[in-house]
Amino acid sequence: MAAPPHRPLLILLAGLLVVASVATLAEAIYEDQVGLADWHQKYIGKVKQAVYHSQKSGRRRVVVLTEENVISSLDLRSGDIFWRHVIDKNDPLDQLSLSLGKYVLTLSSGGTILRAWNLPDGQMIWETNLQTSTASNPQLHVMSNNKVAKDNLVLVSAGRWIYAVSSIDGSISWEKEFSLDGIEIKQVLQSPENGIVYAVGIAGSSKLALYHLSAKTGEVLKDIQESFPGELSGEIVLGSDNVLVALNKARSSLFLIEFNSGRISYNKVHVSDLVQDLSGTFKLQSLSNGVIALQTPSTVSLLKLKNTDGLEVVQRFDQPAALSDALTIAEKDEAFAIVQHMGSQIEFVVKFTSDASSAMIREKVNIDQHRGNVEKVFLNSYIRTDKSHGFRALVVMEDHSLLLIQQGEVVWSREDGLASIVDVTTSELPVEKDGVSVADVEHNLFEWLKGHMLKLKGTLMLANADEVAAIQALRLKSSEKNKMTRDHNGFRKLLIVLTKAGKVIALHTGDGRIIWSNLLPSLRASRFGVMPSALRIYQWQVPHHSVMRENPSVLVVGKSGAESSAPGVFSILDSYSGEELNAMRLDHSVVQIIPLTLKDLSEQRLHLIVDSNSNAHLYPKSPDALDVFLHEMPNLYFYSVDILTNVIRGYSLQKSCNIEGDEYCFSTKELWSIIFPSDSERIAISETRKMNEVVHTQAKTIGDHDVMYKYLSKNLVFVATVSPKAAGDIGSALPEEASLVAYLIDAVTGRVLHRVTHHGAQGPVHAVLSENWVVYHYFNLRAHRFEMAVIEIYDQSRADNKDVMKLILGKHNLSAPITSYARPEVVVKSQSYFFTHSVKAMAVTQTAKGITSKQLLIGTISDQVLALDKRYLDPRRSANPTQQEKEEGIIPLTDSLPIIPQSFVTHSHQVEALRGIVSIPAKLESTTLVFTYGVDLFYTQLAPSRTYDSLTDEFSYALLLITIAVLVAAIIVTWIWSEKKELRDKWR
């Protein structure tokens, strides 16, 4: 009996629709999905030098050099980056200059590398290597008004060398090495007479040498030397055209040195005669035309030179202030700027050196409270429409942010503190309040359907260009992801980051915008120049049950100084507002911070701080925290890794402390130590499991229905050591003298569970430890390739449990107590694979319940993050897997790990100077949030086994609705048709 002819057609149509909607579930992202779940932010870091490009037409730009070793060209109108290069940390940038109006010159690596970059697009034009003894303070001097063959010479002075380099092609036109013993060139000056260059150097500690050189050949025309009574500190500035000002070593007096036609004469001035109560260190800054600034951390004094007879104080600023360099304004006059901090405002003063006592411009600018003091100012002038001079300035603040000030207003600001993130934690957003209904978002059903129809068109590739643009805009706008409330899937969170400047910034995961920021007062530099350092950030209070109404808070730990014995600093901040709830100065140092899994009654997390005297201090200092802690204290063990002495030590805690009356202080007792022989092994890395990692299954079922129990111990520590000769860079050691030893150590007993030696291998080693496996990356010198090795560790003592008979008879050992003291019977499986790239950072995906399979997140040398399935790093991979193994999902063995371009989670972005990768579980089991930081920030959502528990954003609801409608229509039509046929049959 033939089926009704219409039915299959309808089914065909419905089938087509369903298939079309299913096809969109794919692993990698499409190009038009960029920016949907991810964001990328570019930063440059704290600016230390800036050069304006003064061009009559075109876009105005400023080229900056930063402490993150970045050279960048910024748009002066908006602060956007035109181009940027992140130079390696081993190649520190010292000086920056412009030449011929189109080249940016940078001097790096102590004056040994000179590079020229094309100003418009940032392409490197040339690079010249200079042979110098690496000097502490190399100088770069671009010759002006040199009309020789349209070329401009660049003078580089470093140590005892001076080089003259052509700025067109980087060729060295002359070089000069000074033979005077211990000489260091401090200043290179261009004399007013054309063709002569002065070089000022200090030999030994008290001898000053002045050379007259020919600018064309570098030939020494004149050589004058003079010895000084007492020692010179090496700090020397040019006071006016022919007067140098030098500081003596005791920093008590200044020498005013005049050099005139081959003669040097000097005069001594005591600093205390000029400026009283001068405390701490100070530095000299020349502002030309005889004006010199004397800067201490808290004051600035302007001094005016009276020929060589002496100095007089013109003005003194008692607030912390920053001073710009002198800027030449048309008629041989020079201007400079002083920016002072006054409460919530900064005062921007521009003065002329010819009349330093009065101000040319005095403006007050309102500034965000959380930016701290002004650290640096770079002045620039422009011609107003009425032909007068206008001034603008780039201001670098204490929190490393960069502002452009013009006409009493902040034109733009860049939050460049985010280029130097120290640590990251997350916080949940507030729960959605009653009264705000989700339905409001989907306010208009028609609009909603229209949007989905558009998406449907896009899916079926029927949309035209305009519609595609509309779809993209619709997706990016999606207000859902940027809301300030907690969402059902746990995608919306706050990323709370701690920066090097001591600023805490909260970023929204939806679009990366800053929710709040707070420059912590306890981590700011003091008046005496002591620099505190930010260490870590932890979750302090995560309210759940009884204290649900309270806001969560985070703990910031810092040190009030650089040395390890400096006392610690605590600061507790509200996660929603950024307000500082509590700040403490600790009376002990911070060597190790151990966040415990315990909580007190108000759900504050317990933290143990170990100081330099090996005492442990408990925080928070509340009685119920102490109760909770004392109850668990006998079970607490910790370990420390001392890389300097090559020792790992394990400790337990004891209820007594040398400090009387402090019941929150505990002494530690060393239980075990592993001393590595320092002549053959050096600790390269130690790695442990993440505290918050969740493991779902304790066992692994293998192909032949056998069960392997994972050895899941929270106390597992991975340590890798390398032979001392192989501790350096690649290329420094021979395969025979290099070896790498990997250890798996139990941190409670100090027992070495597994030890494996890789001969001919060397660091740098990167490792990640998760569940019962560790993956580490190292360099194989024999194959001359990078390798990644995996060790999986299984518990053999529980292997008998799988016997069902024993289970029935009660002879199994499931009920046997599991103790950390017992010697575990472990079985280890390992394997190693080649990996193409160098690695900068490694992490593993974390999900809420640990069910989803794991992916390794590998930060490669090209600053990208690769997601590599853990299945590729399975030690049980074999060349010809059996049928059973294939069913289990074992991939056939290959000698190297695949790099699939689509699995770069950063897709076409680069996270410049990548330093860390953090994986944060979302509430949705399939998804993890990945935050990557370096100079740039990158955030994305990742589903290691695809989103099996939710429909993707791509899912077309319109298609589903149409399918259903068509099916219903088909049923009705066929029913009617069938009824008719039946009736006809009955009449027959």
């Binding site: 290069h85 590079r115 697009d121 690079e127 690649i730 740098p764 600053d863 371009p901 076409s908 029913w975």
Partner: protein, 205 residues
Amino acid sequence: MAASFAPHGHLLLLLVAVVLACLGTAAAAGSGEGYTIAGRIKIDGANAKGFGLPAKTSNTKVILNGGQRVTFARPDGYFAFHNVPAGTHLIEVSSIGYFFSPVRVDISARNPGYIQAALTETRRVLNELVLEPLKEEQYYEVREPFSVMSLLKSPMGLMVGFMVLMVFVMPKMMENIDPEEMKQAQEQMRNNPVSFSSLLARAQG
């Protein structure tokens, strides 16, 4: 394999220049502290000659020994590392959009200036230090254009295809059946009619 035996002194500068002139030859020059590794990066489709870098890759970095030193490629693709000690070194190229194999570079200490280079991925020995990407990297999934064939190849498509086949082939098969048997079957059908509507009715009931 280009080898330049460089004596000390000023002659050597000349030699380096000569070696560089022969199109990106692996060059090593002995000097007080070390040797110079000079080479060239070549990305196809960059310009007419095939040498140099496309405009979008202004951020091409050349990395020595996993980050010990980093340099940038010039617009014409040239790069150089100076003062490299003798030994076995590794050069990596980072350029977004391209996959470069790391290169093993051996600088011989015994015969100064002799250098040897090989790709570590394919073990191919390079006669001159010209680095080319092994492949272009496509970071995005390519959206397949809507095609009927891709739909038909999917399981749903196959199911539908089978049904269509049944619709058209079954009647043909029916024709071949013996007319008497056919009659019998039809009579059976009439006796206990099973129809779609009655099925629905039953389901409702």
